[in-house]
């Protein structure tokens, strides 16, 4: 059974969409990630136009990050003040991101730029997950307990405009979080991702936030960033496909919940190593698409219908 997507203007198999959403949802629930970094390239692989894949993915992340935030919020693990400061930067970043995106669409380079960005991103994520999980596995075998520093003091603590973030027990300048938010905003708008896997390490290492507050806070601000990106794409690139989003959201929310349950039952490192391999596989496919001479070196896009 196939369904016609009104904005992508093509019909796709409904079960393919549901299983794609389900699998990405499952992985995101299991690892506490948004899943946008897998959703967008997979949508492109099944033939969804790049601009629709990016814009619709942002819409889907709104749903999955709301699901995720609720749990953290109830446990008081969201630093709203930090989230708000990050959002100031993210607001301007996503406006710039959507502008860059529509310029790239206009000059016909969007596919290439998205491919290169995704290749870099997925290779980075995949390798770091692989290294991290294999280290944990190795440490476990050697029965080592690794002690971690609670606080990192670095240049971020020496800048002006210092503000006290009570929840995170921090007294730092607002400049680093605004810059981080700005960068995440650009990435979110151009790639259709929430950016948690960049945001979380940045919050821990640059800002020195306590690990317990990081996930909730990043999810909280991802809701708003992706919501803004959805609206910006709907109004400037007209690429948000509500029908596609609906099926992806439905299946990914269910998948995410199943993933959370599964995460409690399974050992983390082995699965994380598996995810790392999946991510690297997707990265390899993207790289091959860029490197192997295509069968058809010409591609056509409709600019305007003449009425």
């Amino acid at each position: 059974m196939s369904i016609y997507l009104p904005i992508a203007e093509l019909s796709v198999n409904i079960f393919l969409l549901l299983s794609l959403g389900g699998v990405v949802g499952f992985l995101s629930g299991m690892f506490g990630l948004g899943g946008g970094f897998l959703m967008t390239p997979l949508l492109i692989f099944i033939g969804i136009p790049t601009n629709v894949a990016v814009a619709t993915s942002a819409n889907q992340i709104v749903a999955s990050s709301i699901s995720g935030t609720l749990g953290h919020w109830r446990q008081g693990l969201v630093d709203f003040k930090m989230g708000g400061v990050l959002l100031i930067g993210a607001f301007f970043g996503s406006i710039l991101g959507v502008w860059i995106f529509s310029r790239l669409v206009a000059i016909g380079q969007i596919d290439t730029v998205i491919s290169i960005l995704y290749f870099a991103l997925l290779t980075g994520i995949g390798l770091s997950m692989l290294i991290e999980s294999s280290k944990v596995i190795r440490d476990r075998i050697r029965r080592k307990n690794v002690k971690r520093k609670i606080h990192y003091h670095n240049w971020a603590h020496r800048l002006p405009f210092k503000v006290r973030f009570y929840k995170s027990k921090l007294y730092i300048s607002v400049i680093p979080p605004i810059i981080i938010g700005f960068v995440i905003g650009i990435l979110s708008a151009t790639m259709g991702i929430g950016g948690a896997f960049i945001l979380i390490p940045a919050m821990i290492y640059f800002l020195g936030m306590p690990t317990s507050k990081v996930i909730g806070t990043s999810l909280f601000q991802i809701i708003f960033i992706t919501a803004l990106v959805t609206i910006l794409h709907a109004t400037t690139t007209f690429a948000v496909d509500a029908v596609l989003a609906f099926f992806l959201i439905l299946s990914s929310v269910i998948g995410a919940q199943v993933g959370v349950l599964a995460a409690n039952k399974l050992r983390g490192e082995e699965i994380r190593a598996l995810l790392a391999i999946i991510v690297l596989g997707v990265a390899t496919k993207i790289a091959l698409d860029l490197l192997v001479e295509p069968n058809e070196i010409f591609n056509l896009s409709v600019i305007r219908l003449v009425f």
Partner: protein, 263 residues
Amino acid sequence: MIKQLIILFYFLTGVMTPSISIALVIGSDQEEIYIDANFSGEELLVFGAFYSDPSQSRDSKSDILIEVVGPLEDVALRKKDSYFGFWLNSKSVTFRDVPGFYYLSSTSELADEFLINNQIGLLEKKKSEMIDWSLLTTDWGSIINEKEKEEFYNALIRTKQNDSLYKQVSDEIEIIDGNLFRSYIDIPNTVPVGEYTVNLHLIIDNEISQEYSYNFMVTRVGIEEAIYSFSKNYPFFYGLISLIIAIIIGWSGAEIFKRFRRI
């Protein structure tokens, strides 16, 4: 789904050239194709009858030609080139007023000369030096040399053919009883919406003897149309509604499963 609206028109040559009695009778089973949630392409049936003039010499050759021309659009054709091992889009050409769908079918293969003389066809029949570039009113960008222009032109046709949007055949018209003809034309699910023109020609000895044209529409209907036009007319509210749906499903999904887990 198919609206069985039979339009049966017929022409008697007598009306225009009273001396010869040849007729072309045309029917079609629909005047609209609807794109809805389940649309996966459709078959357009074109049928009719033609009567030869009894006084016509026996060895004269008659052919039926069916041409379907979709709505015009502007397209950008981009060529990939290798840069340091990466295949990236480089040169780009804009073609203006190109049919979004084009189908040309005849009972036997027609000579290029005939097609060119009668200005039928935009496919490979128009070869190299015969292409009148000015008709395409294109923006050639940085391309100046004729060979490259031709390469782009051929690529335009080829990419459209690969998407099943352009087709030229000479074996799809069925002739029944020597006077009746019938043809099923594949309308793929990627066709653009708009007005389509069907041109029919009865060709006798390489001369167009009879012509007939009619139009049909490809339109979006139902929820697909509602969503599409809403997204174009009220993009802000469309985005907002997409968000609200995401929020509702995201929120309720978490709530429902929380209850599950308690049990």
